[in-house]
């Protein structure tokens, strides 16, 4: 089974990865050109300058004059206490900024994940092993995978919101405002997962055990749902890292297209405005989410596939 030992090891690795990501963004962002004090003073893009007096104050306040190693130490110390520092621009604690924006993003990503997975499931189970349906739907899925989602989003928005007025054009209110973003974010996931799932189903259906199941008098549906599906889910779980990456990354684009508030918007604005603490914060949150969900899914894989349980790592 999934042992305590395994969990401990994974927790250790998780902390390592999070520390690594934190360090990576710290180093990366301190390599940047430009005086952070000026960026803070300039409010991210004013063409007018700032007085020395103000700059000195900012340097003092944020400790920019200290050696990098001291700043790094303080950064890690804060991090250990769950403090991501002050945003350079938003006049807020980074944790506040992120916590405030987490809700809409989670709703978006979670819904899209469920939708993407559900659609893929229906497509794969419905068409695996049926050559006609398969050729038709796998072409469709290929299209989903190959079309940039921001473009799909724009087209959907134009048709369904601007022209037909079925869905709100912008904003975060209600489920109606989520329909198009969900769909847009889900399509590439559906495409990939359906292709992978169908492949897995097919492989499973070609295995000797599939014939055995039929030889026991089971129906084709039973074979698909009770036996083959689990096998098809394994590669999907293996792809969870990819899916998660696509989701978190997609959120950035989708929130821009649909003018939704959320972490993605925060990230883009922070990068454009060089709001380093916020960028670091978003990266760390993404990393933590990634580590936690990936670990959970790995554990799930071990539950679904008993063959892995004896294997370390």
């Amino acid at each position: 089974m999934v042992t305590t030992r395994w969990w401990l090891r994974r927790a250790g690795l998780g902390v390592l990865v999070i520390w690594g990501a934190a360090t990576l963004s710290f180093i990366g962002l301190h390599l940047l050109s430009g005086d952070p004090a000026r960026i803070i003073a300039g409010g991210g893009g004013a063409v007018s300058g700032s007085s020395e007096q103000i700059l000195a104050r900012i340097n003092e306040q944020y400790g920019f004059h200290e050696p990098l190693i001291v700043q790094y130490g303080r950064f890690l110390g804060q991090l250990a206490r769950g403090d991501l520092g002050m945003s350079y621009q938003l006049n807020q604690r980074v944790t506040t900024v992120i916590v405030d924006q987490l809700g809409p993003t989670v709703a978006l990503a979670l819904g899209a994940a469920v939708l993407g997975f559900g659609l893929a499931l229906v497509l794969a189970v419905g068409t695996a092993g049926r050559p006609r349906a398969e050729s038709l739907f796998s072409t469709l899925e290929l299209l989903f995978v190959s079309t940039p989602s921001f473009w799909v989003g724009i087209l959907l928005l134009t048709v369904f919101s601007f022209r037909l007025g079925w869905f709100p054009v912008f904003g975060n209110e209600g489920v109606a405002s989520l329909v198009l973003p969900w769909l847009t974010l889900a399509l590439p996931i559906t495409g990939t997962l359906a292709l992978v799932m169908r492949d897995g189903l097919q492989r499973a259906l070609e295995q000797p055990f599939a014939t055995t199941v039929l030889a026991r008098g089971a129906t084709a549906t039973r074979l698909r749902l009770r036996h083959a599906l689990r096998h098809a889910l394994l590669p999907v779980l293996t792809l969870s890292g990819w899916t998660l990456g696509t989701l978190l990354g997609g959120v950035v684009v989708i929130e821009t297209v649909f003018a939704r508030a959320g972490i993605g918007q925060v990230a883009v604005t922070a990068v454009n405005g060089r709001d380093l603490p916020v960028v670091t914060g978003v990266v760390l949150v993404a990393t933590v989410v990634f580590v936690v969900i990936n670990t959970a899914l790995d554990a799930l894989t071990r539950v679904v596939d008993p063959r892995l349980r004896g294997v370390p790592e």
Partner: protein, 518 residues
Amino acid sequence: SGPSGGSASGDPVSGGEVTYLVDQTQLTLDPAVSPATVTGLVTRPIFDSLVVQAGPTRFEPWLASRWDVSPDGREYTFALRSGVRFTDGTPFDAAAVKATLDHVVDPASKSQYAASLIAPYQGSTVVDDLTVKVSLSRPFRPFLQALSTPYLGIQSPRALAVPPAEYKPVGTGPFAFVSWEQQKDITLTRNPDYTSPPANAPHTGAAYLQTLRFNYVPEDATRYGALTSGQVQAIAAVPPNRVGSLQSDRRFSVLKTELPGVNYNLFLNAKTGPTSDPLVRQALQAAIDVPALVGSIYAGQYAAARNVLSPTTPDHDQAAAAALQAYDPAKAGALLDQAGWTGRNAEGYRTKDGQELTLTWPYLALINRDQRDVLGQAIQAEARKAGIRIDRPNLDAGAYSESVLNGTYNILDSSNARADADILRFMFASGSTFAKGGANVSLSDSPQLDGWLDEAATTSDAAVAARDYALAQADVLKSGYLLPGYVPTSLVGTTSALQGVTFDPQGIAQLYGAWLVP
């Protein structure tokens, strides 16, 4: 002030909620800190000012019922309206005025713009509860205009006492702040006890609208779609291409006003690189047919600028346009030849001593709006015809501000709204460089220009100021410190149901008198 929208009329009705989509966002709601235009729009309903600008040079009472200026022009004594309260219950008095002005100039508040508006401010004295005396270090003619802007709106001392992270805007205005979600929306609600409208207000008492919501939607198409699909009642920055179809649709109307201040211009670095040669700068003016480009990109809705200042700015000089090189490709070629850029390389760009004529124009996506990127592309294409390569590296805020600081650009674009020609000093005075907190990105360094601008700011004689400003306007055009772009124009789209929206002299929409046709 602009026209009131819509054709439907009738008596104003109370109540209702208006969602107004804006194309910009701000980092703080403190108007004393945030320089953004949108901050003006959003905080105008919250804050009353001491005075109201009723005409180009005319000021009327608002929170100040009266004021006196000392003969040397360095002391202003304001008599304040009585019985006014901030929406947090704090009484409005001389201490509040002092607190607000001190807050603006306090380095701790990191104010850039508001502080620059009252640069000579020395301090305030509370004479009595309802009298306050403000001292300036030198005579400062634009002082009252500055006081009339929302950026110097009078704030509740109680609200200013909290740490910046917890700041909430509290004023005496017709609306009170309810909530703000960064990068998303701001909600205001009617102040039922409002008693202090400006002297020129269309009505008195509380505002009509119950709730005002400002949503940040940067995408032009989305804002437009939200209006036409009926999701919202007003949008800022209607895409110029769409103005025609909105106007022809009875369900909508478009309110339009040209903003005062510095036009959207391309400022040319007169210190370094090829643009340090005045001939090259003038050639650039001659090489690009700005009116044609602006006309086409903005569908005739924005006027092409022929001057540094917009026509609605006090002391704008119509005649200065003559100092500008008119579009004349042949002349541009001749000027460049004269400047020594006589060679041509394989790509058709001019060269001098093997060096290609390349001008760097940093691009910062963060501040892009009004399709300035598209105008930029058109300008690039036009410049290419003249053999000038314009390079537009896509920079982030850090690299951009570094580039501005170090002067490693040849062109920088910006506009700057202000209903006073004193803005020229901010843009062109030799001491007003970026490093010193100014915006002189042309890096102009002319004692003569400095002289005119200083005199205009300190004189109490309006005629002297007007003459000085006219000289300055002609000079900056002639020296090729800039290539004028377009006149920033506020295009507000509303549903026909939204009535009574007006513009103040700065081009800021006023929502105090707005109401919804039921």
